[in-house]
Symmetry: D3
C-alpha cells in the first residue's frame, strides 16, 4: 500500500525525523511518501499555528491523495485531521488520535510527555475533543525554551525520561506517549528505561494507517463524514475546490 | 468603539444579512466594519469548510486588527475563533460562543435551530468544545437542500418556527438559538411567535463584543492565550507572520 | 436603564465596596440602586448561608423589581439566582455566572481566587451547577480567618496576587476571577501585576446585566423559566405571593 | 430513635400522605414527628418554590432538632437539604437523594415518574447536583394541570403506571421512582403492576434516615460540612442564629 | 432477617475481621452467616483477582441464596456485584457501593484510604462504574508492601490516620472511607481521631443490606436486572446453571 | 505471528463464525488458533454471563499464552479483557474495544447494532467503562427472542440492515458496529447496502491484535497493568496460579 505522510510543520529537519521513524514502522509492501507544509511555522505549539498547519495539510492532501491508500497527518495535536477525514475518500490518520487509541489498548490511563509548556493546552483540548480526557492521567512538559527543534532528543533526552517516570509514579499513568514529531524515534531508543510502555506518535500513526487500509471500510454516503454538500467556492485552487465546493466560482 | 465583523463565508449576501442585524445591535458610539472571506465557500456547514473559513478569517484579522477595539467572527460554529483569540491583542468574539453564553444566562438548557441536517455535527462539536454540551437540549434542523442561502428566512421561516416550538415542548429547551449567519435578523422578527426567548447569534456576538471592550481586560502575558512563542515561519504574508512567527524566513 | 443591585450579605461595608466598583462599570445612562439583605449573615461562605441570602434576595426583588430593567445578585456563589430568574419578568444576573461566562470568552480555563478555605466547596458546586466545571482550572483561597470583611483587600492584597500567580503557573489558568463581593474593585487595581486577565465579579455582573437588557429577550411563556403555575401559598408577604402563588391563602 | 419529618410544602393533606407512608416504613422503636412548613406554597414544583421551602425547613429544623436523632426533608427535589446538613449535628436525609441512592443499589439506570411537566427541570437539576445524571434513564411526567394535590393518586393512578411502563420499555429503566410527596404510598399499592422495582421517596428517606442513625458517624470537625464559621448575623431568630451566626447582632 | 456475607478473598483471617465488624453492625433480629471463597487469592487488589473473586462469590451465592434475605459481597471493589444482582431474586449489596452511597449522604466529596498503591486503579474504576467519580476527592494509599494482611490495622494504623487527615486538608474530602476488608473495624476505633466521618465498608454494607430488605422491593420482571434469558450452558454446576442457563447441557 | 482467539461463549457454531471472519482478517504470515470456553453459556448477553465467560477466558489464556504473540477475546462486551491484560505479558485485544477505537478513527459518533434487547445494557456499560460513552450515538437491537444463535444473520439480516439505517438517519451515527460474535462476517457482506462504514468486531479485533504486535510495546514493570503482586492463592490450577498468585498454597 502507498501512504502519504504530511508534516504540517515547515521544518525539513522534523520531516526527516518523522521519515526515519515511519520507515521503521511499515511493513515490507508499504511505500512512504513524505510531504512538508509549504507555509506555516517551523513547529506547531498553539491553536493558531495548528489552524495554519491544518490548512496547509489540506492543500497537500487535496493535491496528491489520488495516488495513495491512506494519509497520515504527522504532527501531534492532529492539525486539520477531522477536516481532511471529511473530504478524503481514503483513511486519514492522526498522530495524537492513533497514539491515544493505542494507549487505551495497553492500559487504563496514559500520560503525554511534551516538549514545551505552551503546547500542553492545545494537546489537552485535542484529546478532550476525542472524548478521552477521562483516560488522560496528565501532561508533563519540558520547561525550557526550545533551541533547535531537530535536536530536542539529544539535548533533553534525560529530562524527558525523568518526566515519564514521574507521570507513572505520581500521576498514575499506565502508558506514556512521547508527544510531538520532534520526538519521533525517541520511544524506540528509551523503551527499556521506561517503567511502562512508551508510545511514539509516528509509530502509532503508521501502524494505525496500515490497519485502516486493511479494514477496507466503505467511504460514507451519509452522516457527517460524507463529502460536504456541493456549493459555490472561490480562491481554493482546483484540487481543494473539487473536494469542498465542486462548483468553483473562480474556475 | 470600532468593531471589525468578519464573515468567514464568501457570500456577500450573507455579509449583508449580518450587517443589517449587526447595525441594530450596536450602541450609538460603536462603528462597524464588515469584511468578507476572500476565499472559501459560500456557506460553511462542515469541519473542512470551517477550517478554510478560519484561515481566511485569520488572514483578514491579521491585516486589519490594529484599527479596531474588538473582532467578531460572524459564522455559527466559530471558525478560527480560539486561534484568533490567541494571536490578537484585542477581544475576539464568536457567534456560537456568544449565543450559548447568553442563553445560559436566560434559562437552564437551550436548543439550536439550524438550517441544514449536515451542519448539526459541526455545531454539536463546537458547543462541546466549550464544555457546554450538558446545557444543550437539542439541535433541530431543516431537512431540505438549501437553494438560495440569502433567502432561507423567507422560504423556510414557518418551518424554523415549528422546529423551535418542538424543541421547547419535546426537548425541554428554555431558550432557542436561531443558528447560522443566514438567519441573522430572524429572531427579532419572530420573537413574539416563539414560546421562549429566541436568540440571534449576530445580536449576541455584537453585544458581547461591546461588553468585552467595556471590560477592558489586560492582554495576557502568560497562559495558553498569550502570543505564541517566536519561531521561524514561511509563506504566511507579513501581517500574519508578524503575529505568529515574528521571524519570517521568507521576509 | 435602571439596575437593582442586591447584596445578599447583611454587611453594609460590603454593599459600599460593591457600589463603588459597580459605579465604575456602568454606562452614562445607567442608574444604580443598591439594596442590602435585611436578614442573614455578614458574609456568605456556605450552602446554608447562601440559602438564607437567596431568600432575602428574593424578598427584596419581589418588592422592588417593577421599577427596574434588570437585577444583579451581588454575591459570589449567586444565592437564589435561578429562583429569581424563574419568577422575575426582567433579566437577573449573578456575579459568579457573569464572571465565569466572561472568563470563557477570554481563555480556555479559569481559576477562582477566593477569600476563605471554607468558601471553596460552595463555589465549586455553584460552577458545576452551570455545567462549567470542565473549564475550572482550580480554586485557590486565603487560609487565615477573616478579621474585617471590609478590609480583606488591604490586609491580604499581596497574598491574593501570589495565589493568582500560582494558579497561572501551576494550574494552567488562562484567566483569573477574584471572587467574592469583599474583593470588589481589587482586580482593577492589581490588573497590571497579574500575568493574565483578572476579572472582578461585580464588573462582569454589571456589564452582563446591561448586555442582557440590550438583548431585549422576550419573557418566556413556556419552559422551566416561565412563571411558576398558580397555586395556594401562605406567609410570603404580598409581593412574593403575587409572583409565586398568586392565590395567597393568607391575603 | 426519634425522627423529625419536615414537609417543606404548606399542604396539610400532603403531610398526612407522608405520615401515612412514613408510619409504614419505620421500625418498632422509631418515633415519628411531623412538621409542616409554616410559609411557602402548597406544592413545590420550581426552583423558586424550592428556595422558599428550603428556608422554611431550615427554620423548623433549627427550632426542633435537639430532640431528634435525624431529620427527613420530605419533598422530592430536597429543598434545603445540603444547607441543613451543613448546620445540623445530626443526620439529614432527603427524599430524592435517598430514592436515587436506593435505586442505584437495585439496578443500572432509573427513571423518575413525576406529577407535572413543570417539575421535571428542577428534579433533573437536583439529581445532576448529586453527580448521578448518568444513572438517570428519563423523567416522565403527567401532562395535565394538577387539581387536587392530595388526590393525584386516585385521579391519575393508571396514567402514572403507564408512564412507568414506558420508562422501562422505551428508556431502559431498571428501577422506577414515583416522585413527589403527593405520591407517597402509591408505590406500595401498585408494586405488583410494575415490571421493575418501584420506589417511594418517603419509604426510601425513612429507611435511609434510620440507616444513617445506625451508622453513628461522627459530626465533622473539618471539611465543608462542619458548622459554618462564626460571624455576625441578623434577623434570623435565635435558633437559626445560634447555628449559622452564633454572634447575633440583633440578640 | 438472615444475611449471607461472602468474603471473595480466600483468607480466613480477613473473614474473621469482617465477621467481627459485621456483628457490631446488625440489629438484634438479624442473623449472619459467613462464607469464604473456596478458590482465588488471599487478598484482592487487581482486576484479574477481582474477576476470580467475583466468580467464586457467584458460586457461593448460587448454592446458598435460598436460605437468606440478602447477600453482602464483602470485598472493597465489589467483585461480581452487578453479576450477582442480576441473577439473585434477593438484594445483593457491595462494600464499595454501600460505602460511597453512605458517604454521599454525609458530605459533598469523599476520599478513599486504601491499603496498597496497586489497589487504587481498581477502586477508581469501580467507583467510576457507579457514575460517582465526580464525588471522589482522592484515593490515598499505603506505599509499603503488605506483610500480614490480617494485621494491617495494627502495623499501619497511624499511617492510615495520617493519610485520612491529608485527604481532608489537601484534597477537600468531607467524608473518608477506610477501604478494604482488612481494615474492617478500624473506622470504629479511630473515629474520634478523624476530622470528618470515617466510614467502614463492612458497616455500611451490613446497614444497607438490612435497609434493602426493609424496602421489600419487587424482583424485576423486566429491564437489565431481571434474570437472564434461558439458554444452553455447561460446566457450571447445578445451582449456577439453574440461575444462568436453566437448560443445563451437562445435567 | 501467532494469535490465540478465545471464544468466551460455549457455542462451537459461534466459534466457527468467528474463525471464518478471522481468517479473512489476517495477513499471510499470521497463524490463528481458536479456543472455545469449556464452561459457561452458549451466548453471553448479561453481566453474570460475562463474568463466567471472563473467568473461562482467563483459564484458557493462562494455559496457552506462552505459544502466542497476542490474544483476542472474541465476544462483544469483552469478557475478562482488562483482567487478562493485567496478567498476560503479551497484548490482549477485545472485540468491543477494537471496534469502538476503529470507529473513532472513521467518524464522530458510532452506533452499535445488537442482536437482542437484553444485551444493550451490558454493551453500554462496557463502552462507558472505556470512557467513550460520549462517542456512542445509540444502541439499537433486534427485539425478538433468538432461536438459533448460529443463524441470526440468515434469519435477521434485513432487520439488522434496517436498524443500521435508522441509527444513521435518526441517531446521527457516522459509523456502525455490527455487534456480537454471532454477526461475525455480516458487515463484509452487507457493506455496500449500508450508508456509512459498517464494522465487524472480529475484523477490528484481528486487525488491532496484529497492530499491537507490530507495536512491540514493552511489558509494563509499573502501573496498574504490571503483573499483580505475589500472594497466596488456592484452587486456581497451576497455570493461573503462576500468573496471579505465584505462591500457590494448594500446589
Amino acid at each position: 500500500m502507498k501512504l502519504l505522510v504530511i508534516n504540517p510543520n515547515t521544518s525539513q529537519d522534523v520531516t526527516r525525523l518523522i521519515e526515519a521513524e515511519a520507515s521503521r514502522s511499515i511493513r515490507p509492501n508499504t511505500e512512504l511518501t513524505m510531504a512538508t507544509a509549504p507555509f506555516g511555522v517551523a513547529y506547531i505549539e498553539t491553536r493558531a499555528e495548528s489552524l495554519i498547519g491544518g490548512y496547509a495539510a489540506m492543500q497537500i492532501a487535496a493535491e496528491h491523495y489520488q495516488q495513495y491508500d491512506a494519509i497520515v497527518v504527522a504532527a501531534f495535536g492532529d492539525p486539520g485531521l477531522t477536516a481532511l477525514r471529511e473530504i478524503m475518500p481514503i483513511p486519514v490518520v492522526g498522530m495524537t488520535e492513533a497514539a491515544v487509541l493505542s494507549a487505551c489498548q495497553q492500559g487504563g490511563r496514559f500520560s503525554v510527555i511534551a516538549i514545551s509548556q505552551r503546547i500542553q493546552a492545545w494537546y489537552r483540548e485535542c484529546i478532550a475533543s476525542y472524548g478521552l480526557e477521562g483516560r488522560l492521567a496528565s501532561i508533563r512538559a519540558l520547561d525550557e525554551p526550545l533551541q533547535h527543534i531537530g535536536q530536542v532528543q539529544e539535548n533533553q533526552g534525560e529530562r524527558l525520561i525523568e518526566l515519564g517516570r514521574r507521570a507513572v509514579e505520581e500521576d498514575g499513568a499506565d502508558v506514556l506517549i512521547l508527544a510531538g514529531a520532534p520526538l519521533a524515534g525517541l520511544a524506540r531508543s528509551v523503551a527499556d528505561r521506561m517503567p511502562v510502555p512508551a508510545l511514539d506518535g509516528v509509530t502509532c500513526a503508521l501502524i494505525q494507517a496500515q490497519a485502516m487500509v486493511d479494514m477496507a471500510a466503505q467511504t460514507p454516503a451519509a452522516g457527517s463524514y460524507t463529502q460536504p454538500p456541493t456549493k459555490p467556492c472561490q480562491g481554493l485552487g482546483a484540487p481543494l475546490a473539487a473536494l469542498v465546493g465542486r462548483q468553483p466560482v473562480d474556475a
